[in-house]
């Protein structure tokens, strides 16, 4: 439970990232039992963690350190993994990427009972971080190392508060009290919504203990009376830290990039992966525009340092590889249209949530406005229905300037943001960072586990696409496909009954095995795609289908006015529809929720969730709760997002606490499937009650 500051704040007595990394190398080389399981990376299933894991894997491989990467989908899975890891004798380094910051790692429940030679490194971008992980020391604690981005320096108040509550000032009368209090504290940190409840009872218990000691009673009473207000103040401080909601700090890939910079081992590959991590955080609204700009300028300088170009050309269409070995990264401007270089221009604008909101795409009138906007810019309808690559060259060059001139009339401002693109020699056209993130994200969410239909390029002949494409087969491995082919062959030839029986068996086991494994397969598909450009480009069409499904569902929701407005937030419940199975995945459901937020940003008034324990109302925002029925499992997946009122701003997500609170109150049977506390799986029957209690939460206690 020590946090290490970033290198620019480090000093001789305060080790930083490089020292931690070198410690890993040293312990690997020194240990006689080193095997492939000595260094294990547990990785969360999002693009940022994927990039960070790949960067670390490359660096470890260059240092000849054998390691294993294990994808972990959620807290339940992490618990299972932990039990399994207890039995590995040769494990001496565990790295948690984008998970575990909120968990109380030194406690017995997590890593308290592991051997002392194990060190746990936490590289996580989620905030708030658990204070015992950050500040607790001691023999048990020094093994947990949190790689911090500099914000922990500003948490001295929280540190004082935590230490005061964990270690009591008086040595003797509080042996019992301190145990009680630290127990209370640990419980309190894990179920932070009960903090108010625990501190008063803790206070009472402490006073009782103070009273029991005969000799020092007066002294204790005086001391305890003095610190009663102090305790209140301290516990308020801690509560503030946890209750303000979840947000994201420096991306994990940025942390690893800083490590590589300190070790002087950066190159274009590491830079590109770091850029992807940052772009992921920005395009999924995890980080605000100001934070994005801060990191972007750092990467901008790095790009120019590593890729010297004689001419700085900002036009994204003029990027082309200068030679077959050209793998350089260039700085470009990226438009906010989704995957616009791989689609028709009309489709790209139609599917981007920003444009959708401003123009009202779900209605016919809105679509006409879109064609009107394109016509004003000088793009005829046949031109906009062409795939972007086949559009006229001069139109492409004019696109940017025309957009700047004409789009503000429709309320579309700030359409471009600075970003990067990478060349791949003559093997493939250059790919921009946003597109790469989209493709990787689509692979992570839906490469396997759900059937996706893709459009075949060129089959459209202009006009809309009505389906009738080919199926996505990329998520399954070669053996699965062969086995399925063999099954079909056996069925067709002869012996129908044994074949059917086998097929049924496989069918029954299939969902169970697949249920556990689909996110692992997706993870590895995305991991492979990060190094292979052909796989990544194939995944672009998968991403397009995903977006199409989201638009379909989102438009039908808005059209049917399915959004119920409660006192403090808005609720959408999906019980039917063609894509229900698709939306039963938490990743896809979160995308739908974010799309709804962006689309309705200007049309709905913001509300403010009242903060419990604080008097007034917090900042205004657009809270949205989306629930989708998972027919197979008989549960609802619920996702809560907090959209900010201004474009490019982000709000802390308070739904994690709100969900926990509501769950306590109505005793719903729920499960947290992923690391995001704002995603929940709840039993079918409990949904209605849960949603009702959720409304009451917002009013404070």
């Amino acid at each position: 439970m020590v946090y290490i500051p970033p290198p620019h704040l480090a000093s001789a007595s305060r080790p930083s990232y490089a020292e931690a990394y070198n410690d890993i190398l040293v312990s690997h080389r020194r240990s006689p039992q080193t095997s492939a399981s000595s260094v294990i990376l547990l990785v969360a299933p999002d693009v940022d963690a994927l990039c960070a894991a790949k960067m670390l894997a490359d660096m470890l491989q260059q240092d000849d350190v054998m390691h294993r990467i294990i994808p972990v989908s959620g807290i339940a899975e992490l618990e299972r993994m932990r039990d399994e890891l207890m039995s590995y004798a040769e494990l001496h380094t565990l790295m948690l990427i984008n998970m575990g910051a909120i968990l109380d790692l030194p406690s017995v429940e997590w890593f308290g009972e592991f051997s002392t030679k194990l060190s746990v490194h936490v590289v996580d971008s989620t905030r708030p971080q658990n204070l015992s992980s950050l500040f607790g020391g001691g023999e048990n604690g020094d093994r947990i190392i949190v790689w911090d981005d500099g914000r922990a320096e500003n948490m001295q108040e929280e540190r004082k508060a935590w230490e005061a509550l964990a270690y009591e000032p008086e040595p003797d009368s509080d042996e019992d009290a301190s145990d009680d209090d630290s127990e209370e504290d640990k419980e309190g940190e894990q179920e932070s919504d009960e903090e108010l409840g625990s501190s008063p009872s803790g206070k009472r218990r402490m006073l009782d203990n103070g009273g029991r000691e005969g000799k020092r009673r007066k002294l204790n009473d005086e001391v305890s009376r003095m610190s009663r207000d102090q305790r209140d103040a301290y516990s308020m401080r801690l509560e503030q830290h946890y209750v303000s909601g979840t947000s994201y700090g420096q991306s994990a890939s940025a942390t690893i990039y800083i490590l590589a910079t300190v070790l002087e081992r950066v190159d274009n590959d590491l830079l590109w992966l770091a850029i992807l991590g940052l772009t992921f955080q920005y395009t999924t609204s995890r980080v605000s525009r100001t934070d994005y700009d801060k990191f972007h300028s750092v990467y901008y300088d790095e790009v120019f340092r590593l890729n010297p170009r004689p001419d700085a050309n900002l036009n994204p269409d003029n990027i082309s590889a200068s030679s077959p070995d050209d793998l350089s990264v260039r700085a470009t401007e990226e438009l906010r249209f989704m995957l616009f270089r791989h689609w028709t221009l009309y489709d790209a604008m139609y599917h981007s949530s920003y444009v959708a909101g401003k123009l009202g795409i779900w209605k016919d009138r809105g679509r006409k406005r879109l064609t009107g906007l394109l016509a004003k810019m000088g793009f005829s309808i046949p031109q906009t229905q062409q795939p972007y690559t086949h559009m006229d060259l001069d139109l492409k060059h004019q696109l940017r300037s025309k957009l700047d001139a004409i789009a503000p009339e429709y309320g579309l401002v700030e359409l471009a943001y600075p970003s990067f693109a990478r060349c791949y020699g003559y093997r493939a056209p250059p790919l921009s960072a946003a597109d790469a993130v989209e493709a990787a994200g689509a692979l992570l969410d839906v490469a396997g586990g759900v059937r996706m239909e893709l459009e075949v390029e060129g089959s459209r002949h202009g006009g809309e696409w009505f389906g009738g494409g080919k199926m996505w087969g990329g998520g399954r491995s070669e053996e699965d496909r062969e086995r399925k082919n063999m099954m079909r062959g056996v069925n067709a030839v002869d012996a129908k009954r044994p074949a059917e029986a086998e097929d049924n068996d496989e069918g029954k086991e299939g969902p169970e095995k697949n249920e556990v494994q689909w996110w692992v397969k997706n993870f590895w598909a995305a991991y492979d795609a990060l190094s292979d450009i052909t796989l990544l480009r194939e995944a672009l069409s998968l991403s397009m289908s995903l977006h199409r499904a989201i638009i379909r569902q989102g438009s039908s929701i808005i059209d049917k006015q399915d959004i119920r407005t409660m006192r403090s937030h808005r609720v959408v419940v999906l019980t039917q529809g063609p894509d229900l199975a698709l939306f039963a995945h938490p990743g896809v459901l979160s995308r739908l929720a974010m799309w709804l937020v962006e689309a309705l940003r200007d049309r709905l008034p913001g509300t403010a969730i009242a903060k419990p324990g604080r008097g007034g109302r917090g900042k205004k925002s657009l809270p949205f709760v989306v629930a989708c029925l998972d027919e197979q499992a008989g549960t609802y997946i619920v996702v809560g997002v907090m959209g900010a009122l201004d474009f490019g701003d982000v709000r802390k997500n308070e739904f994690g606490l709100a969900f926990l609170d509501a769950k306590e109150r109505c005793n719903a049977r729920t499960r947290h499937g992923s690391f995001d506390t704002s995603v929940l799986e709840i039993n079918q029957e409990d949904l209605k009650l849960f949603l009702e209690t959720l409304c009451e939460v917002g009013e404070g206690y």
Binding site: Q62, D64, D267, D325
Partner: protein
């Protein structure tokens, strides 16, 4: 055996590449290493930025881990190869090239193309050289007789290519030559 029939009688290109990797090349190391004993010999010490000579297999390994830069051998540049190409196309004899130039060039282009000047031009020159020499070796095979085939300056990959053919051809020719004298 799992290899196709045609190459069972000779060495595969991958094996030739392995053999060629024993050649010594110059590198500029980025890490330092003491004099270490390997099976084939003792190499080192490596002290950046002083150049040192190590086998190609070790240079490849270090390069993949970004721990050295490979200095291309003196024949692996545009001027030398261009000159050899013009010689190749103007004279009927084979020009003089290092015996294992094809394998060494391939390894260096794969692993360390950023250490070369103008790698794509080098690739196209190598391709042109191969085609010119291949045409000549085809013509040269017509002069095959039962006792000898002399093609001076042929390189290891090219020899490997025609080896299965001329072994068989020579044995057939030898039989033919012997038969007439064994007649009645």
């Amino acid at each position: 055996m799992a290899l196709p029939v045609s190459i069972r009688a000779s060495v595969t290109p991958l094996e030739l590449e392995l053999i060629a990797s024993e050649t010594l090349v110059d590198i500029v190391p980025l890490i330092s290493m003491e004099k270490t004993a390997f099976i084939s010999g003792a190499y080192g010490p490596l002290r950046p930025p002083v150049k040192s000579r190590i086998p190609l297999w070790m240079a490849t390994n270090l390069k993949l881990k970004k721990k050295c830069h490979i200095v291309p051998p003196d024949w692996l540049n545009i001027e030398f190869l261009q000159e050899r190409l013009t010689h190749e196309t103007s004279y009927p004899a084979f020009s003089d090239l290092p015996f294992r130039f094809a394998e060494i060039a391939k390894v260096i282009l794969d692993v360390a193309s950023d250490d070369l000047q103008n790698p794509d031009k080098i690739r196209s020159l190598l391709k042109d050289l191969r085609e010119a020499r291949q045409a000549k070796s085809r013509e040269g095979l017509q002069k095959l007789d039962h006792s000898e085939l002399s093609l001076p300056n042929l390189c290891s990959m090219e020899i490997n290519e025609i080896r299965p053919f001329f072994i068989q051809a020579m044995s057939v020719l030898t039989k033919l030559v012997r038969e007439p004298t064994a007649g009645p």
